[in-house]
């Protein structure tokens, strides 16, 4: 056992030398031969002396922190970028012999991150036809290819529809079809699932795995998600433009310490395994919750562990003034009402959020969760609060129509006279991808924007203090960034500046729509840590819209599930995630801790936990220390 581990370690350390690459070159789909590439002459290279050989039919996953060179890798393969040094060969064709980039692009298609920015035409079949049209394919053959490509991604029913009404996952499948219609041998996915919700991600991954298994397509998958990388035959890890690990996904993800060294956070499951091992429970490293449950059960058998964990004791609830409670009643909302395009977004939502909560709102894209939160700071006003509103006359004998009501603290949002500006100052809202709303010349001006809007006549000194505090709490150095252009910052920094621009007025309630979307695992973790810090020191209530169940389980005191505009469930994660069947019928997942608990229960072990990684580990450890029986 020890010896085997040692061998694995060796293998991981050894990055294949050039000679080995040469031998493989014959049957290889893609070969990188000592490639170096930098975007600007003096800048650090995005890819450094890089060797890689991908064989035909292989499924390769590429992981690495943001800026590690993953996307550069994808673009070098099909000649969108050309190497400064070394060679990239696709089926023996050198991308530097730039006579015919089309020949290479015909063999290697890329699907990018944002499905919206890859579509050329407003009608799906026209969009899929774009590639073959460029290649001068005959009309009839194009028709056949459209049939085939749409069928391969399961979208044949939408052929003559428009993409604007589709979900993210469906759009991305269309983008894949557009690439498939070129009939490539290699499919490269450059973080193609990063902007999708879990259901969309599953849809896309199902398509990709099937293409690899059944059509024998070579797949190069660039991703941040461990579950996706686990599907691959081989995984490589990039760090600062260099390949630092390679092996089967299992080999990679079991080397938790090294992942952390490369700015990749440890997957949750790995964290739990480590906790258990630290407590002296010799479970092997696991990749799936089922595996973990089996391991725990097996070790439990050996050690004669108890079958019930210590009971979960809820942390003492901080007594709050209920001064900033949120109360939503009968909230119904329709987009473009009274037009042929009317779309019901919310129906009869009742919701109460206490002051001091870290509240989660869960739902698919298009479930209405964003519409719901936009009501809370009156970005969407209740009909009664509109200037034009006149109450309808109610005929005798008919019941009066039920009007939606929202109260936030002392604000009554159904009242026309409500001070909406004051309300927005108290209820901060961070939208999805908030960095896209930065506009000012300096970071200072951008952060101060909200402050100056809300507090007319604020002095320069007060502004400076407030901006300094806001930038510092989000973890940026005031002196360092205040005079920089926000557009010169890195992605993660931009997001922090954007958040600072919202919290600078010290709102009592902070709402964030997918605050961690598009970040790498470490970035996600840091953002969640930031939110906890804000919750402790800065804002009374934090509301997070998310579709990451692990994130909800680890962080929230309570969460509501929104589905098709209705609040279906609302409970603390501890109760919510026990209802696996209900959630999966809504197409939602449960966190891995909940999966492991369910499996453990089948194996005869009851673990009473709130599903956070820490509590779960603790409770499993308590099994081995005698559990409730002790």
């Amino acid at each position: 056992m020890q010896n085997e581990n040692f061998n694995e370690q060796e293998k991981l350390n050894a990055v294949p030398p050039a000679a080995e690459g040469e031998q493989k070159e014959q049957g290889a789909a893609v070969v990188f031969d000592g490639v170096t590439f930098s975007y600007e002459e003096d800048a650090a290279p995005a890819l450094k002396d890089f060797f890689l050989s991908v064989s035909k039919g292989e499924f390769l996953a590429v992981i690495g922190h943001n800026g590690s060179g993953k996307s550069t890798l994808a673009r070098l393969i099909n000649g969108l970028l050309l190497p400064d040094k070394g060679r990239v060969k696709v089926f023996g064709m050198d991308t530097l012999e730039g006579k015919n980039p089309v020949e290479i692009r015909k063999r290697a298609g890329i699907v990018f991150q944002n499905p919206d920015n890859q579509m050329v035409a407003s009608i799906i079949e026209d969009d899929v036809a774009f590639g073959p049209e460029n290649l001068g394919v005959e009309r009839e053959e194009i028709g056949k290819r459209i049939d085939w490509a749409l069928k391969a991604v399961g979208m044949e029913a939408y052929r003559t529809g428009t993409p604007s009404r589709l979900s993210g996952g469906q759009k991305q499948r269309i983008a894949i079809a557009g690439v498939l219609a070129i009939k490539p041998d290699i499919l490269i996915l450059d973080e193609s699932t990063a902007m999708l919700d879990p259901r969309g991600r599953r849809e896309v991954m199902d398509v990709v795995t099937r293409l690899n298994r059944e059509e024998g397509m070579t797949v190069i998958l660039i991703t941040h998600f461990m579950e996706e990388a686990l599907l691959a035959d081989r995984t490589i890890v990039l760090n600062r433009g260099e390949m630092v690990m390679q092996g089967t996904p299992a080999e990679i993800f079991l080397h938790s310490e090294r992942l952390e060294a490369y700015n990749l956070s440890l997957p949750r499951i790995g964290r739990i395994c480590k906790n258990l091992q630290a407590a002296g429970i010799p479970v092997a490293d696991c990749l799936t919750p089922e595996q973990l449950a089996a391991e725990v059960a097996q070790e439990g058998e050996k050690a004669g562990a108890a079958h019930r964990s210590l009971p979960y004791i809820p942390a003492p609830v901080e007594q709050n003034g209920h001064e900033w409670d949120i109360d939503v009643k009968d909230l119904t909302f329709t987009y473009s009402a009274k037009s042929p395009f009317a779309q019901r977004a919310l129906r009869g939502i009742d919701l109460h959020i206490d002051e001091g909560e870290f509240f989660g709102i869960i739902g698919h894209t298009g479930s209405g969760k964003s519409t719901l939160v936009q009501h809370l700071n009156a970005l969407i006003k209740l009909p009664q609060a509109e200037k034009k509103y006149r109450p309808k006359k109610v005929k005798k004998g008919e019941p009066a129509p039920v009007l939606p009501q929202i109260h936030v603290g002392q604000f009554d949002l159904s009242d026309k006279k409500c001070d909406f500006v004051k309300l927005r100052e108290s209820v901060g809202m961070v939208f999805q991808y908030p960095e896209y709303q930065l506009f000012a010349e300096t970071v200072f001006a951008d952060v101060a924007f909200g402050l100056k809007n809300f507090r007319k006549g604020i002095t320069a000194e007060e502004t400076e203090v407030a901006v300094r505090d806001a930038l510092e709490i989000v973890g940026l150095s005031y002196e360092e960034v205040k005079d920089k252009s926000p557009f010169d910052l890195s992605g993660g920094q931009k997001r922090r500046v954007a958040i600072a621009g919202v919290i600078v007025t010290r709102p009592h309630i902070l709402i964030l729509d997918e605050p961690a979307a598009g970040l790498d695992p470490l970035g996600k973790q840091e953002i969640m840590e930031l939110l906890h810090k804000l919750h402790r020191e800065w804002c009374r209530t934090v509301i997070v819209v998310s579709h990451d169940m692990d994130e909800i389980a680890d962080n929230c005191t309570r969460a509501a599930v929104i589905s098709r505009g209705e609040a279906v469930l609302c409970a603390p994660p501890r109760e919510l995630f026990k209802r696996e069947e209900e959630l999966s019928s809504l197409g939602l997942d449960i966190p891995i801790t909940a999966k492991a608990c369910a499996r453990l229960k089948e194996l005869g072990y009851e673990v009473d936990t709130d599903f956070t990684c820490e509590d779960f580990s603790e409770k499993v450890i308590s099994l081995f220390k005698g559990g409730e029986d002790a």
Binding site: G109, N117, V120, I123, D126, F439
Partner: protein, 282 residues
Amino acid sequence: MLNDVTFGQYYPAKSFVHSMDPRTKLLALIAFIVAIFLADTFYGMFLCLAVLIAAVIAARVPFGSVLRSVKGIIVILVITSVLNLFFHGGEHLLTPESWVIKIYRESVVFTVFLLLRLFLLVMASAILTLTTTPVRLTDGIESLLTPLKWIKFPVHELALIMSIALRFIPTLIDETNRIIAAQKARGADFESGNIFKRIKAVVPILIPLLISALRRAEELGDAMDARCYSGSKNRTKYKKLTFGWRDLVGALVFAALIAGVVLFNVYAADIWPEIYEYIIIT
């Protein structure tokens, strides 16, 4: 703020006019415009009106939505008719001699004609846009412009630009709404203040929107490159427009319309001589 912009006015339905070739419809519109400006008798005008009504019926679009299209030019209509009524001049004075404002019979007839022409023009264009998706329209325009390739006019590129613009309008409207909401949440006020304040207030929307559009353009460029785009050379086209029997019927109707209008112009005097001078513009 931009929620009310339902882009384009396409009215989805299955009808004779909907399934006509967009090129026929474009040419028919041109023919119709020629006809209404050729017509200088009320007989011809009524013939045009009859064809328009027939087209609305064949298109199965509500009359209301066709009429509503006139709303946009109502101010222009009022101003031009007032100006024409008072200043056109003529021989047969209708108002008493002593009045400062003088209205002649000729100016009334002329104004009525002008109004009719503008109404018909706008409504006919409305039928085209109501029954043709922007995409089909672009295809039609591209196809009609094809002869210009002879003089090296970049028809294909122009069509691609139009189609990409159409594709991104809804996306950019969404984006604009999102940015507006985000800046509103930061206390931005777009609804009050004088014109200069309002223009200044637009900066926090415009800059992010511009940056986003540039970013999208760059990504789209990469995506098009990756899908082997290399200009119009050797390119095939999947969608081909084809003329059908409906287009033949349409062409005949509009040819007949022009012929009818011309005939009325020539023989109007013989039809009902007593009213002849009231039904023509001189």
